[in-house]
Subunit: 239 residues, 2 copies
């Protein structure tokens, strides 16, 4: 048996997850699947803090519900305590709250929003559809980043936005049936007809439902969870 | 919008993972999928420490390679620091090393080996096939537990045991093609013909390859990762 090589240690990746749990599984699966590795020891060191009891972001952003910030601060504390050198959060909506939480932390934070905007710029798309939760839209977190990059954005029609929220809740309840896929396809197809070169699957529950879309296979959609996984791998393995 | 209910907090589940990464994804996916939940806040709080740089268990058990114990101790320290109240390890082979590591820790440890033996006893199977790595077999960790429970066990023929190690390495390298499934099916079918009432998929890479087999759908196989996920959910939610 060959001598074991001493692996070059990657940076420790901290994942603030649980928002929701299936989306965290999906992100972690993408992180593992896309890491170039022939054996365990080639993979990234990852610590995941998944606390699904973080209060609902929708309630907080839309209805004056409990501010999730203390839960996020606790999660970041756990990740830092475990030695995280990079922090990522596979939930688009919660990015409305992350700035102050991570501002003074001695850690590299990779924003899913910024990562998605970069992915759009790489494809040179000028007009995109945006599938995001009501709460994320109310926070303006995606729209502000797209505006700043000079990218036009379109939202689904109100009835489809309502259907989108139903899809997100269904995935959070553990469902993934074909009807949900069909609904998302219809949203994407409407946005395409209205001039969107591509559509952002801007909620990690939608990412989880769509599964592992690689950029080349499905040019009509940008998966922020996949883009964040790819960027995380790139940053964690950079020497 | 309805008032949010204060969730009953589950115990914090600590997962010592990364051995290998795809197996940890598979275990976490099973944990999430089988938790009865209608919304994020119904799910378990989970912390995962996934360090794939733990030295090869095969080399340690078979060829005098580096003892993985210090890596395990570090992982448990991180999990305890993050407040883990239950610790699980979705890797069968590493259970050969876990006893001393967890013996004096003020935490509930759920062994994948014991959990699997209980699952066999529930099905009242008296003679089982055992698919496990060369290292796990050399350690005797499964055989001792089966012997103690009065359960007869059969191993694959040598050529199939060699094929099994190839399957495990392929999954660790990110592969999951149909040929690998067919090889595992052939092992199971040979063991069945030799009198095994059921077969233990006793390596979490095999669990990951087989995916989400529920007990009722596939009576010929026992998936230790699934059994451990179900037991973890039961223990974490018990008040």
């Amino acid at each position: 048996m060959a001598e074991q090589q001493t692996p070059t240690l990657s940076k420790v990746v901290g994942v603030l997850g649980g928002m929701g749990p299936a989306a965290t599984v999906d992100f972690y699966a993408k992180l593992v699947r896309h890491t170039p590795a022939q054996r365990d020891q080639d993979h990234l060191r990852v610590v995941i803090w998944a606390d699904p009891t973080v209060p609902s972001r929708q309630q907080a952003l839309l209805a004056g519900g409990t501010d999730p910030t203390p839960w996020l601060e606790e999660g970041v504390r756990h990740l830092m305590g475990a030695g995280a050198e990079i922090v990522v959060v596979p939930c688009n909506t919660i990015h409305a709250y992350l700035g102050p939480v991570l501002a003074d932390q001695p850690v590299e934070f990779l924003s899913i929003i910024d990562t998605t905007v970069r992915a759009i710029q790489r494809r040179d798309a000028r007009r995109v559809g945006l599938l995001a939760t009501d709460g994320a839209l109310a926070s303006g977190v995606f729209q502000a980043a797209l505006d700043a990059a000079g990218i036009e954005w379109l939202l689904p029609m109100p009835s489809q936005q309502e259907a989108l929220m139903g899809v997100v809740d269904a995935v959070k309840a553990g469902r993934s049936e074909q009807r949900l896929h069909a609904q998302v396809q219809e949203m994407r197809s409407d946005l395409r007809e209205r001039g969107a070169a591509t559509t952002i699957a801007g909620c990690t529950e939608v990412s989880a439902l769509l599964g592992d879309l690689s950029a080349g296979d499905d040019v009509d959609v940008i998966d922020p969870a996949l883009e964040l996984a790819l960027r995380t791998i790139e940053r964690a393995t950079r020497s």
